[in-house]
């Protein structure tokens, strides 16, 4: 083998090729760098911001609610809520056990809340909103172990008046997807009014939540606060309510089941709206313990229902002035025209009894109201016929929602033949019209409707819309009845209290002059010779009283319904009397013994036998 000078040319050629390949590769890197940093920069910048910025929702304090005198109905108090950042949670099971361990709730409940929170991914969720000091301390002590948990100050509704205003204030609940879609200012998890004033005035009370933007590091630790968009607190709201009167009504109704409604008849401003029994509204200020909720639901006295707006009762004798006004206005009766009451009258071959077995003798309109003579109104109903009775009732707003801003109002029932055929599948029996004449049978109203009807009766014939915030509600509309007729009826209503035979004459002892009408709403047909005190509670009739004052120029109408109260004059009228006295500056105490041993009177007796009229109780309607 001969020695040849080493030829490096192939090596150099290959080295040059390598140089070219590497140059191309570096060019590719440069191009990629350009596309990431210049072309796609906005996208990556957004992702980087997402990484480091965390938005903490700042709750907007809800507006304060006061009554017409500035007394606080609803306010806020500081509370501490537990937030969960689902992304930070390493072991959900461990977190669940910890939260159960500090007594937050039982395991299924905690598991449910955690699982709901995990579905919302990157947003923090409120796991509990009313931590006790011990729970806060436990979370703080385990901060290093459970980075996903964080205690945040928040506010919670405080309701100083408590159960007194339970049905009025309403509850809060998390905004539903539909509500979120309808109002862009709402955010997931925000509490909004679910019922009562909270719901009706959500747009006033709600406010706009804010944000706290904080910078966090890769471990989720808060490094600094970047930006704060403070929440816009809800606006305060002054109600037409008179809290002092509401409290008085509540104490007068204590132990009773029923409701009290008081309106300013001139405007429809609601002064009292009470339903008994009530509940502690604070139970609903946060997460409700399922057991409490179940016991409230199962309570046979139905504390959750707002009887003032939702319960339906036959109006009983309280309907009589309405029909009297209608009959006068339509010329069916004159004030002087009289009927002879012998204690029993026959229609269509059946006897209809007056509540006073011996009869009232000659009875004209004003006295018929004073003594609540059934015979007079049987005859009136007979002469008027169902259509006219229904027209008069409807003119006074009965049988239809009053339009108050609170949701869930019941409509009631003013019957007609068409209704009977459609709903009951049978024709209207003429005998039923006679019963409707004294407010029994298939005619149903809410306490609020009764208050609106009496407001029209005493304000010169204007139908008002009850409302809780001054200036709201439709303007009063004339009901189209002769004002003179209304004055005649009012004279009768004055005699109910002031007259020597008045069914509520015990209220004449009040320090303020009042007028009104008693009523008894039948639960079962009355049995002969049985006093109401001897009946089981649930079979006793409902006791009603509608009162107003001052009689000549009324500024307050009060409706009282005591379920199974038995005797209107002895049970319902004293409650109304106490509220009316209070409204005009007098604290009158009518004690329980007086209620219990009061002489029963003014109990209208329904027809003893009315085979043509099938029995109708409010339960079947």
């Amino acid at each position: 083998m001969t020695f040849v000078r080493d030829d490096l040319r192939p090596l150099r050629r290959r080295a040059a090729m390598l140089a070219a390949v590497f140059a191309l590769a570096f060019a590719a890197i440069l191009f990629r760098l350009f596309s990431l940093q210049v072309i796609e920069a906005p996208r990556w910048r957004a992702l980087a911001e997402n990484n480091r910025l965390r938005r903490l929702p700042l709750e907007a304090p809800r507006g304060r609610v006061t009554d017409r005198n500035g007394d606080v109905v609803m306010d806020n108090r500081p509370a501490f809520q537990l937030l969960l950042f689902p992304e930070e949670m390493r072991d959900p099971e461990r977190t669940i056990q910890f939260l159960v361990g500090i007594g937050l709730a039982d395991e299924t409940e905690v598991r449910g809340r955690i699982n709901r929170a995990r579905r919302t991914s990157h947003l923090p969720s409120v796991i509990a909103d009313n931590l006790s000091w011990a729970q806060m301390a436990a979370v703080a002590a385990h901060r290093a172990d459970f980075q996903e948990l964080s205690v945040h100050p928040a506010s919670r509704r405080s309701i100083p008046a408590g159960s007194t205003v339970a049905h009025l204030v309403g509850q809060l609940g998390e905004a539903t997807p539909a509500e979120l879609a309808a109002d862009e200012r709402l955010r997931p998890g925000q509490l909004v009014g679910r019922s009562g004033i909270e719901k009706a005035y959500q747009h006033v009370l709600g406010g706009v939540p804010g944000n706290l933007v904080v910078v966090v590091d890769a471990l989720g630790r808060q490094v600094s606060t970047l930006d704060e968009e403070p929440p816009e607190p809800g606006h305060p709201l002054a109600l037409t309510l008179d809290l002092e009167l509401q409290r008085r009504a509540a104490s007068a109704m204590s132990g009773l089941v029923g409701s009290v409604v008081a309106l300013d008849p001139r405007t429809g401003e609601v002064r009292v709206l009470l339903s008994q029994p009530a509940f502690d509204p604070d139970l609903f200020a946060g997460h409700l313990e399922p057991e409490r909720w179940r016991s409230l639901l199962a309570d046979p006295a139905k504390p959750l229902s707002n009887r003032a707006l939702q319960a339906l009762y036959p109006p009983g004798s309280t309907i009589k002035p309405i029909f009297a006004a209608g009959a006068l206005a339509d010329g069916l009766r004159t004030p002087a025209q009289s009927v002879t009451c012998t204690g029993q009258t026959s229609f269509y071959g059946h006897p209809y009894r007056c509540w006073l077995a011996g009869g009232h003798g000659h009875v004209a309109l004003e006295r018929a109201i004073e003594v609540s003579c059934d015979s007079y109104f049987y005859r009136l109903a007979y002469d008027a016929g169902l259509e006219r009775l229904a027209r008069w009732a409807a003119a006074f707003g009965l049988g239809a929602p009053t339009g108050i801003e609170l949701a869930g109002e019941a409509g009631g029932l003013v019957p007609s033949d068409e209704w009977s055929r459609r709903v009951r599948g049978q024709k209207w029996y003429a005998g039923e019209t006679i019963s409707v004449g004294i407010g029994q049978g298939p005619i149903l109203v809410t306490p609020m409707q009764l208050a609106v009807a009496y407001s029209a009766l005493v304000n010169g014939g204007f139908l008002v819309t009850p409302h809780l915030v001054p200036g709201t509600g439709r303007p009063p509309r004339p009901i189209g009845l002769d004002p003179a007729a209304l004055l005649t009826v009012r004279a009768g209503l004055v005699r109910v209290v002031a007259g020597s035979e008045g069914t509520a004459r015990r209220l004449a002892a009040l320090p303020v002059p009042v007028a009104g009408k008693t009523g008894t709403s039948q639960v079962i047909r009355k049995r002969e010779g049985v006093r109401w005190q001897e009946l089981p509670w649930e079979q006793r009739h409902h006791a009603l009283f509608v009162g107003y004052a001052p009689p000549e120029a009324p500024t307050l109408v009060v409706v009282v319904v005591v379920e199974h109260g038995g005797d209107a004059a002895a049970v319902a009228a004293p409650v109304a009397g106490q509220v009316l006295a209070k409204a005009f500056g007098h604290d009158v105490e009518i004690t329980t013994p007086l209620l219990l041993f009061a002489r029963p009177d003014a109990e209208p007796v329904p027809p003893t036998a009315a085979p043509a009229a099938p029995e109708v109780s409010r339960e079947t309607l």
Partner: protein
């Protein structure tokens, strides 16, 4: 000074400056300011080594290559028995308070040994025997490093072999055979060597949606860092991804991402161009080399540093899976800095002695 390649030395200046600035920034983010000054000390020591090796005669070092190689193999062989377990590997030798990563220096020895072996073969293409010897020469230390286990560094041995075979010359049939062998090796490595997390990394790279919070997390955070840097960057020590520690391994594997975030395309492009200049100048030196050994040595160094830089950048930019390959000089690590500087010094020596009459 004409004997030095001023392009290469000039390109090192921005790299050293960038390295120090980037290390200062990430050291602050990680709350360990001492690391930045340590890296700077190594870089300066590296420059001294670079000059020393430039002044040496690479031909003498190539002649002693078998000795260096033998020492390197010996150290790598005993390393598993003397090295403490750190981060799951036995890669570091602890000597009087200093930790040394022998695999980085072993690479220099392998580069010299490969140049010596391939340089002896004075034909247009390499013989089958030489190919086999070269393969064994590289495979032995590579396997030893892989067993530490340090896959990232082990992979950096592969380009040494590839460079020698390419520069030495091989018929295309041989390339095919080698490619097949390489693929078989990869398959075997996948089955028996790679840990599940390493397999996961590769699968994640192939399908990024696979694990957005696991193995894909690092690459995603890296791309967010780079992309959010924009044209001019967020400012030194103001990168949110690095300063808030969303960026993983920001002192080592992902230092380029931290730099790109804080200085933007402007700063990152300067660095890429500086690396490109260094690598391309290494090939220019190779082409200018006076003998086979010189061409093979400088070319080999060019391929090693070039592939290492490119793979690291590609990983940071989401173009390659995360392999644990660092960016020479920029990533934190004394052994790597010093070994890289020795290589650059050797290349300078090739350049200095490029004329046959010196």
């Amino acid at each position: 000074m004409k004997r030095f390649d001023l392009f290469l030395l000039g390109a090192l200046v921005p790299i050293i400056v960038c390295s120090h600035l980037a290390q200062s920034s990430t050291s602050r983010a990680l709350g360990q300011p001492a690391f930045a000054s340590r890296q700077l000390a190594w870089l300066l020591a590296g420059v001294v080594l670079l000059i020393l090796f430039s002044l040496a005669d690479y031909r003498i070092l190539v002649r002693f290559a078998p000795l260096f190689y033998a020492v390197a193999i010996l150290v790598l062989a005993v390393l598993p028995f003397v090295a403490p377990l750190r981060a799951g590997t036995r890669s570091w030798l602890v000597l009087g308070g200093y930790t040394i990563q022998p695999s980085e220096f072993a690479r220099v020895a392998v580069l010299l040994a490969v140049a010596a072996l391939a340089g002896r073969h004075q034909r247009e293409t390499l013989s089958a025997g030489t190919v086999a010897q070269l393969t064994a020469l590289v495979a032995v230390p590579a396997v030893l490093v892989a067993l530490q286990p340090d896959l990232g560094v082990a992979l950096t041995f592969v380009p040494i072999l590839a460079a020698a075979l390419w520069l030495g010359g091989m018929p295309w049939r041989a390339w095919l055979g080698l490619l097949a062998a390489g693929l078989a090796l990869l398959a075997a490595a996948w089955l028996w060597y790679l840990k599940p997390y390493q397999q996961e990394r590769i699968l994640t790279f192939l399908d990024p949606a696979r694990a957005p919070t696991g193995a894909g997390y690092q690459q995603r955070q890296s791309r967010i860092a780079v992309g959010s840097g924009g044209l001019t960057g967020k400012g030194l020590r103001a990168g949110t991804q690095s300063q808030l520690r969303f960026l993983p391994a920001q002192r080592t594997d992902f230092i380029f991402a931290a730099w790109a975030e804080e200085t933007g395309f402007a700063g990152a492009a300067v660095l890429v161009l500086a690396y490109a200049t260094v690598v391309l100048r290494l090939f220019v030196i190779a082409i200018a080399g006076r003998d086979r050994e010189g061409v093979l040595l400088a070319g080999g160094i060019g391929v090693v540093l070039g592939t290492q830089s490119l793979i690291n950048m590609a990983m940071v930019l989401g173009l390659a899976p995360t392999t644990g390959i660092t960016l020479p000089l920029l990533s934190y690590g004394g052994s790597s800095v010093l070994a890289t500087c020795i290589c650059l010094g050797l290349a300078q020596s090739v350049w200095r002695l490029r004329f046959a009459n010196v």
